[in-house]
């Protein structure tokens, strides 16, 4: 109650901040800062070698290439949450592609191009393999760190085992390479870095780029929005691997040396350190951080090598423990200009929410609904080791039904929901969604068949805005742009209704973590509805809500089943609520289906009365 009241009081104020300041979203004006920044940076990179001393130019070429790799680490770790120690391996692939080609074949334009192509292909293949290994279903999140740790070790040992072919510990050096002035190397590397950063900047701010943050924040929710997160992560891994390989290629061409250290795990961890110090998830932070750190260490390596390393180590630990966002954002937050700019970009991308005109395809689905049940369970069982939580559950549910599942704690209600939404969950039996058996498919495949699942605790994306959360839910239907943000967001009428009725619309520019508990629940419901599911699974949607909030949700649910012909499955403890809105009730008790009937039948049943008054042993047939 208090929580909600507080929020209601502050929401008008928040509402006045959120609307854009007269900027039409997505126009050139909105993208202007990026273009301007890129041009300025390009200009600076071209002028810099004229004023900086030779040694710094020399070192900076290397720093730029490192920074490009750090950029990929930031995309993987900072944005997507994949802690990788393996980007050095891709850098090494690029470097050795050039080193081996130029040493053993020689420098010709054709060889140079082929070597680059080889580097890209090998890096992409290795990244795909790494991703396939690391992002399989049910694999623990730390496993990706295991794999990316193995990667540079394997790469280094392969270099070692190559004998004179790879130069082993010595590496390869002294091969003929491109004849370029130091200044030109500087400009080349600098422009490459600026363009890569700008591209990454556009990407992470595009609609597609928000998926990365969504995966980091809540991968489970992503999969239940039908997003194939494993494929997205593998694709990202491939792109990042290729960029790192190109940087490595440039490094070898510039320094005329390839050495096992370039592929090693220590370099891989250094990249993570630079990114952490610069500020993970900020792109500019890691780039600037890498350049500053590498340049400073170049100056200090002679005079203060240990102290410098010690300082870096101390700074790194402090940042990880106390300032997980890194140094740069903290420093930058001091400047008001940064804060203003950040708020500006945030506001400028608020899309207009428009109702989705029902497509003709929706109609046949309704027509077919009468013939095929929306949901059919046959003999579903679930075991955890020796513990059996579901015994032989069979029932069907049709379009337009609101089926409540009730039962005491531990009756297996939530397990049942999981078995419907994820093919890996059940131990036995079959589940058909609108006539499609789900088999052993992943949640995202079940979503494709028409399942929408709302979790018990509101599962949203904390650091994304309400509009962004809703956009993610629509991506299955409308593939997002890779470099820009759409001006409009089309939502199904039901989702829009939920957003309107709960007051969510006024908060569409706000980050989800700032929402009240009730609004988070409403947001998740709207997201699930945006999927246009045929079977909607709701696990205690009203837990922890105030009475008016429950009322609102109840009204919406009734309307949904009535008007849009959805099949809703509701798990609920509050039996008053169940009585008000259900068309049918299923009672689960100790993992078995105890009763399946109308509300009146269930409410009047002695069985339910005994279950709820606690004399469980009186329930003879439930004990067998």
């Amino acid at each position: 109650m208090t929580d909600h009241a507080d929020h209601a009081a502050e929401s008008p104020a928040a509402g006045t901040v959120a609307p854009p300041r007269g900027l039409a979203p997505g126009t050139l004006a909105a993208r202007h800062p990026v273009a301007l920044g890129t041009l300025l940076a390009l200009g600076a990179v071209n002028v810099a070698p004229l004023v900086i001393d030779t040694y710094s130019v020399n070192v900076l070429v290397r720093s730029f290439l490192y920074a490009a790799v750090a950029l990929t680490v930031d995309l993987l770790w900072g944005y997507t949450g994949i802690l990788t120690f393996g980007q050095s391996a891709f850098f090494g692939i690029g470097a050795y592609a050039l080193g081996l080609a130029f040493t053993h074949i020689g420098l010709t334009p054709a060889v140079a191009v082929l070597a680059l192509a080889g580097a890209v292909v090998v890096a992409a293949a290795v990244a795909a393999l790494t991703g396939w290994l690391a992002f399989g279903y049910g694999v623990s999140p730390i496993y990706v760190s295991v794999v990316t740790l193995v990667l540079p070790i394997v790469a280094t040992q392969l270099v070692f085992s190559g004998g004179t072919f790879t130069g082993s510990s010595s590496g390869l050096s002294g091969f003929d390479t491109f004849e370029l002035d130091l200044e030109d190397w500087f400009r080349l590397a600098g422009c490459g870095l600026v363009l890569a950063t700008a591209a990454a900047w556009l990407f992470v701010r595009s609609d597609a780029g928000r998926v990365l943050v969504a995966i980091r924040e809540n991968e489970q929710r992503c999969t239940y929005l039908g997003l194939r997160t494993a494929r997205i992560k593998i694709a990202l891994m491939i792109a990042c691997g290729i960029v790192a390989a190109i940087a490595g290629y440039g490094y070898a061409a510039y320094t005329d040396v390839v050495a096992p250290e370039l592929t090693g795990f220590v370099f891989g961890t250094e990249l993570v350190i630079w990114v952490a110090l610069g500020g993970r998830g900020t792109l500019l932070g890691p780039v600037v951080g890498t350049i500053l750190i590498d340049l400073t260490s170049a100056y200090l390596s002679g005079s203060l090598p240990f102290i410098w390393q010690l300082l870096l180590g101390v700074a790194f630990v402090l940042v990880i423990v106390a300032l997980p966002r890194g140094l740069l954002p903290v420093l930058a937050a001091g400047g008001r200009r940064f804060a203003g700019a950040a708020a500006g970009t945030r506001a400028a991308v608020l899309p207009n929410l428009v109702p989705l005109v029902p497509t003709p395809t929706a109609a046949p689905a309704d027509a077919g609904a009468s013939a095929t049940p929306a949901l059919r369970l046959r003999g579903v069982t679930r075991r955890y080791g020796s513990l059996q939580v579901l015994h032989d559950i069979s029932f069907t549910a049709h379009a337009g039904e609101l089926l409540s599942i009730v039962g005491p704690n531990g009756a297996g209600k939530s397990s049942l929901m999981r078995c419907i939404a994820d093919g890996h969950e059940r131990t036995g039996g079959t589940v058909d969604i609108a006539g499609h058996p789900i088999g052993r498919r992943n949640p995202e495949a079940c979503v494709a068949f028409g399942v929408g699942r709302k979790f018990q605790a509101a599962s949203v994306f904390d650091t994304l805005t309400v509009a962004e959360c809703l956009r993610l839910a629509r991506m299955r239907h409308e593939p997002p742009s890779l470099w820009r943000r759409a001006k409009t967001l089309r939502l199904p009428v039901s989702a829009l209704q939920v957003a309107q009725a709960t007051g969510l619309l006024e908060h569409s520019g706000e980050e989800a973590r700032h929402l009240s508990h009730g609004l988070k629940q409403a947001l998740e419901l709207a997201m699930v509805l945006a999927l246009e599911p045929t079977v909607l699974l709701l696990d205690e949607p009203t837990a922890g809500l105030t009475r008016p909030e429950r009322q609102t949700i109840g009204t919406i649910l009734s309307a949904l089943t009535r008007d849009s012909g959805m099949c809703v499955l509701l798990v609920e403890h509050d039996l008053d609520f169940v009585r008000e809105i259900s068309s049918r009730v299923v009672v689960l008790h100790q993992g078995k289906l105890a009763l399946d009937g109308t509300v009146a039948e269930v409410v009047g049943s002695d069985l339910v009365r005994t279950i709820y008054s606690g004399e469980t042993h009186a329930l003879g047939d439930a004990h067998g």
């Binding site: 802690l83 290994l133 399989g136 049910g138 694999v139 623990s140 999140p141 730390i142 496993y143 760190s145 295991v146 794999v147 740790l149 193995v150 070790i153 394997v154 040992q157 070692f160 085992s161 795990f265 220590v266 961890t269 993570v272 350190i273 952490a276 240990f306 102290i307 390393q309 010690l310 870096l312 180590g313 101390v314 790194f316 630990v317 990880i320 423990v321 106390a322 997980p324 080791g385």
Partner: protein
């Protein structure tokens, strides 16, 4: 062949000694201590100090364990404790700690490679093979470490508390067990074991500020595969360590160097829980 059996046994013993400390910390705290390599190095330098002091090389082992314990407990208090909810950050923070320890060691002892005295010299005739006595002694040494750990976990109240925290921390706290203290002691114990392992391996190789790093990765892989059990760690060290020896002997020592890491990655992909029972 006999020599290979001895190689496998002694290599597995070395790996077991090196990985046990990491396993203890991972088991109780669910945190990967990437400063493990630095603690190994610390143990190596403790052995170096005993060599310099001219006292019995056997004393290197208790000295290393004690120093490791004290520093480990301090580290837990000031660096690891804020990170229990952020396991990936804990990996990074402990890695950073490893850098700090390495640099401090460098500042004190210099960068160069140094050597310690071995407590035993010469060879013994086992299985018809003249084999390094020290390496042979590593086998009972590792078994001793394993038995002592098992006794500590299963025969003392601290061990019982630690096991309770591993199994269900919330319940353990509700019964009055101070899980913070258990964790401090556990981290200290894990660090002590790491330092002890460092002292154990140095007579066979050399001491330098980066000596622990190559061991870290193998220990990490073994622990990932072993899960939380000292027994499955033993299985993992024999299987993976054995594979390493065989690949080194029949293919090449260099490929042997990546055997453990690659096998671990494959095993974990097929069976995410590794050699652990469930």
């Amino acid at each position: 062949m006999q020599a290979q059996i001895l190689d496998i046994a002694t290599s597995a013993a070395m790996l077991y000694a090196v990985a046990a400390g990491l396993l203890v910390i991972f088991g109780v705290m669910k945190i990967i201590n990437f400063a493990h390599g630095a603690f190994l190095t610390l143990g190596g330098y403790c052995a170096l100090l005993t060599t310099w002091a001219g006292i019995s090389p056997w004393l290197a082992f208790p000295v290393a364990a004690i120093v490791g314990f004290i520093i480990g407990a301090l580290v837990e208090r000031f660096i690891v404790r804020p990170l229990y909810q952020r396991p990936l950050d804990a990996i990074l923070a402990t890695w950073g700690l490893g850098i700090i320890l390495g640099q401090v060691i460098t500042l004190i002892f210099g960068r160069e490679v140094q050597f310690v005295q071995s407590p035993v010299q010469g060879t013994a005739l086992v299985l018809d093979t003249d084999y390094s006595l020290y390496r042979l002694l590593l086998v009972p040494g590792a078994i001793l470490v394993g038995v002592a750990l098992a006794a500590l976990l299963h025969g003392t109240r601290l061990g019982l508390a630690a096991r309770a925290v591993i199994m269900n921390e919330a319940l353990a706290r509700g019964l009055g067990i101070d899980s913070d203290r258990v964790r401090s002691l556990t981290f200290g114990l894990g660090s002590a074991l790491a330092a002890l392992a460092g002292a154990l391996i140095t007579p066979l190789s050399s001491v330098d500020p980066a000596m622990g790093v190559p061991w870290l990765v193998n220990a990490f892989m073994l622990v990932m595969v072993a899960g939380r059990s000292l027994i499955s760690l033993m299985v993992a060290t024999v299987v993976l360590g054995g594979a390493q020896v065989l690949v080194s002997s029949y293919a090449s020592p260099v490929l042997g160097g990546l055997t453990i890491a690659v096998l671990a990655a494959i095993i974990l992909r097929i069976r995410p829980q590794g050699f652990a029972r469930d």
